[in-house]
């Protein structure tokens, strides 16, 4: 593994920055059940980092630890060079970490645009009173934030459904709207919990392209959980493999693919 402070260039010419987030010996228990057992790994600036593993391996728990939803009993989360104290999810969001959910969690009755605008919440400073009169600073702020939201709508090609209530959208588009809302927060780290679950091949291809484009265009660091091995191997720069709460592999896709422990536990029997 490269030194934690250095940037390096991957075989296919992508520049990966220094470590931005480090998980040190994380253990998470629910009563007597250990969901995560003593796991350490890091996330580097600008990379696409995948977390894979069979069902119940603890992947979503791991993501919830990163997003501050769960507070681990043991271990430390280091973010941008300093140890992160236990904090609430909204504080984590304010630090520039945004996420999407495995089971879509949008405001179903609101339009796509309004949903995306909620992603801007952490960037709004004017108070309730100013916003209800919508004069001066509040108006300016809304215009600025709307512009950001519109650029993301353009980027994810969902202009046609801008005003459509989310409840009326098909599943694949809801996933995209959720990504839009997460992007609207202009996060430095984007957490995606199974962004392609339940999609058909075409939708998966579209989503993969959007993920790569987001990473490429905004330089957003992405950590994602995904079941589709093809997608993981194509998209990610490095992969963490979990099984029964333990880390059993960590490295580039090809390293992981050839790791005997991973093959045994997860990928099944090795071909040739």
């Amino acid at each position: 593994m490269k030194d934690t402070a250095d940037s390096y260039v991957t075989a296919d010419g992508r520049t990966i920055g220094p470590v931005v987030m480090e998980m040190k010996n994380i253990t998470l228990r629910f009563g007597g059940v250990e969901a995560i057992k003593d796991i350490s790994f890091d996330i580097r600036q600008g990379e696409i980092r995948a977390i894979i593993g069979p069902n119940g391996a603890g992947k979503s728990s791991m993501l919830n630890v990163i997003s501050g939803f769960y507070i681990p009993q043991e271990g430390e989360v280091w973010y941008k060079g300093s140890r992160r104290p236990p904090m609430k999810p909204f504080q984590v969001a304010q630090q520039g970490i945004a996420r999407t959910f495995q089971n879509i969690a949008l405001f179903e009755g609101m339009s796509v645009l309004d949903n995306v605008m909620t992603g801007r919440l952490t960037h709004m400073k004017t108070g309730l009173l100013a916003q209800s009169f919508w004069k001066g600073a509040a108006e300016r702020e809304e215009v600025e934030n709307r512009e950001v939201a519109e650029k993301i709508i353009d980027f994810l090609e969902i202009q046609a459904i801008r005003k459509t209530p989310v409840a009326r959208l098909p599943y694949g588009l809801k996933k995209r709207v959720e990504l839009a809302r997460a992007l609207a927060a202009e996060p430095s780290i984007l957490l995606l919990d199974e962004p392609m679950a339940g999609m058909n091949v075409e939708e998966k291809e579209d989503m993969s392209r959007f993920i790569l484009d987001v990473n490429d265009e905004f330089g957003t660091t992405i950590a994602l959980i995904e079941h589709d091995m093809g997608v993981v191997m194509d998209l990610s720069d490095r992969v963490v493999v979990m099984d029964y709460g333990k880390k059993i592999g960590d490295g580039t896709p090809s390293e992981v693919r050839n790791n005997q422990a991973v093959i045994d536990a997860y990928l099944g029997v090795a071909h040739d």
Partner: protein
């Protein structure tokens, strides 16, 4: 500054018109585009500056007079400007279909030897990069949307805004030369080169001069009283002559505003927001809109449905007459006004047609029911007949003389004649200069006196002087018994049914006619949903027995209507199959403008055609399909061959001949 560009005999080129508009209508909107949810607009003066900056940038990049510049992408102001900038530099713009695949693009760009390409986005850049090896003359690409292109090798690639920046920076160095080049442009210099979609063989490059463009734009604008305050929505392919004439020719001549939608998917929303006053759409668009209105009315509450049905029945009765200014009783007028308030007005608003003064449809025949529906709402929808070689306009319907079965009277300046075999010939100021690098085809199409063969068979109606088109002249054939075979005539009748998307009729030199049918997935799918019929794929729905029954009843209805026409009664469809896949331009079965390519279909589905004639009850077939990304796969299916009832043909006429 404009002194060298003004000529005593009026503007003689597209750039000259741009300069005129920039002075005359300086602050009027010239272009609008919805971006980031807001309509951005540019005045004529701003447009001139933008175009000029790009032209200067192109000069800095070394563009020569006579170079060809490919323009590829969806309708955006920037790409229209690209065409004008190219012409300013004395180069020739060649717009290409944005959904063309890499090989099709390679053919066209190689044929004209394009040195520059101005493209919309990464998709187009990738396509050109794919075929760059086959393009020896190609040098530089200019792209509009930088998304995804940051890491590309920029040795032969520049961003549009950077080229404009370059132009502004080196303005002093090139402005004299640019003005000199524009001053050289006149009526005889080439304004644009458009490739025909090519129902047969390779596309041909149609060279249109400034005379063609400006004369046509002028006379057609006068014909319909187009005004500077008009608005159009530019959403049809830029490579198509119609879009060029509406969005560049007429827009330049009258100075009206061209509005570009945000994306292809938002077209209907944008249409509603803009409310164009002058609108053009191929019949397919009107058909789709009508189908969606009807489907939504099916789901409406009973009160609304009743209101809609009652007032639409009234509209059908008196609407067209009111539109044409014919006498209608006071009571009917009052009822129509009531309908306007309750139904027609809101409906037109939903469709985006509230402000339409002149609407045109062309390219294919439009179903009389569809045509009447729009006219009865008070939308002045008319038909025109034209082609690329004529710079669009050959005939058009004047206000007050609109019918669904003719294509109108000759446009100002156009002469018509019908050859002995029924083929329509015309001569006009819009007649194209030549097919590029193809003198042989030019000679075949245009004779020494300037008469051009349309390739369509038709006749001029006695009394009214209206032209009626029967079919493509080369598709018109003879049945084995010598009666006339006009496949398109029958296909159009079939396609007027909402359930039928496409039809191909065979029967040349055979005893009887047979047909391939494509169902319309929207209409038939909705019907299936309504009747609780489950289906997993197009293929499955297409061979559902009830769908087959419905199609059979449509075919039989068409047979009954065909039988009424003495000349064409032999064209009744005896047997048909519902195809297992949609005919597709990606598979070469349709042109990019969605016209049927008969020869290709005949070869490809030879086995099915054989089954249609040898009496078999079903046929198993395997068809290769091309996916949008170029991969190939195949579909296997067993198709049922159905017999359709035909009307007895009165043999008297044939015997008398």
């Amino acid at each position: 500054m404009a002194t060298p560009l003004v000529r005593a005999d009026g503007p003689q080129s597209v750039p000259a018109l741009l300069h005129r508009n920039a002075t005359q209508f300086a602050n009027a909107p010239a272009y609008r585009e919805k971006e980031y949810g807001i309509w951005q607009s540019w005045t004529w003066a701003q447009t001139r500056d933008e175009v000029e900056a790009l032209a200067l940038g192109l000069m800095e990049m070394g563009i020569n007079e006579g170079d060809f510049v490919s323009v590829i992408g969806r309708n955006r102001p920037y790409l229209y400007w690209a065409m004008m900038a190219a012409e300013m530099c004395g180069a020739v713009p060649v717009p290409l279909y944005q959904d063309a695949n890499a090989e099709e693009m390679a053919y066209v760009m190689n044929h004209c030897g394009a040195r520059f390409a101005i493209v919309g986005d990464q998709e187009q850049v990738d396509k050109i990069l794919d075929v760059q090896d086959q393009l020896p003359e190609f040098q530089q690409m200019i792209y509009l949307d930088p998304r995804g292109l940051r890491k590309y090798d920029h040795a032969a690639m520049k961003q549009y805004s950077n080229v404009q920046e370059l132009g502004r920076q080196f303005r002093d160095k090139h402005i004299k030369e640019l003005e000199a080049r524009q001053a050289k442009l006149d009526y005889d210099s080439t304004g644009v080169m458009l490739y025909t979609s090519g129902t047969t063989g390779k596309p041909k490059g149609v060279v249109l001069s400034n005379r063609n463009i400006i004369e046509t734009a002028k006379s057609s604008s006068e014909f319909d009283n187009l005004r500077q305050s008009d608005d159009i929505l530019a959403y049809l392919p830029m490579a198509w002559v119609g879009d060029f004439i509406f969005s560049v020719g007429q827009a330049m001549w009258t100075g009206f505003c061209t509005n570009c939608p945000e994306s292809a998917d938002t077209m209907h929303v944008d249409l509603r927001e803009i409310g164009p006053t002058y609108y053009f759409a191929p019949p397919r668009v009107f058909e789709t809109q009508l189908t969606s209105v009807m489907i939504r009315m099916e789901d409406a509450s009973r009160m609304k449905k009743w209101l809609f049905d009652t007032f639409m029945a009234h509209a059908r009765k008196v609407g067209p007459a009111i539109l044409d200014g014919k006498p209608v009783s006071q009571w009917d007028r009052f009822k129509y006004k009531l309908g306007e308030a309750f139904v027609y007005g809101p409906l037109k608003n939903t469709l985006g047609f509230s402000r339409v003064r002149v609407g045109y449809t062309a390219g294919e025949a439009i179903g009389p029911e569809i045509f009447d529906f729009y006219r009865s709402l008070g939308i002045n929808l008319k038909q025109l007949y034209g082609q690329t070689e004529a710079t669009v306009f050959i005939t058009a319907q004047p206000d007050g003389e609109v019918r669904s079965d003719t294509v109108g009277v000759t446009c100002p300046g156009v002469e018509l004649k019908i050859a002995e075999n029924g083929e329509v010939f015309y001569r006009s100021p819009g007649v194209f200069v030549e097919y590029y690098k193809n003198p042989e085809s030019t000679r075949d199409t245009k004779d020494a006196e300037g008469w051009v063969a349309t390739g369509d068979a038709g006749f001029i109606e006695e009394g009214t002087g209206h032209l009626r088109i029967i079919d493509r002249a080369k598709d018109v054939g003879k049945m084995a018994d010598g009666s006339l075979f006009a496949p398109k005539y029958v296909e159009n009748k079939l396609k007027f049914f909402p359930n039928i998307l496409e039809a191909v009729v065979f029967g040349n030199e055979k005893d009887e006619c047979t047909a391939f049918i494509n169902i319309d997935l929207t209409a038939v799918g909705n019907w299936a949903e309504r009747n609780n019929i489950g289906y997993a794929s197009y293929q499955e729905l297409a061979r559902h027995p009830q769908v087959m029954d419905t199609i059979q009843s449509h075919v039989e209805a068409v047979n009954a209507s065909v039988a009424e026409d003495e000349m064409l009664s032999g064209c009744q469809v005896h047997r048909f199959v519902v195809l297992h896949k949609e005919l597709d331009a990606d598979d070469g079965e349709l042109t990019r403008t969605r016209k049927v390519r008969r020869r290709i279909i005949e070869e490809k589905y030879d086995d099915i055609i054989t089954a249609l004639y040898d009496g078999s009850k079903s046929v198993s077939t395997e068809t290769e399909v091309t996916y949008e990304d170029g991969r190939k796969g195949s579909i296997k299916a067993t198709l049922e061959v159905r017999d359709a009832a035909v009307q007895a043909v009165t043999p008297t006429k044939l015997a008398a001949e």
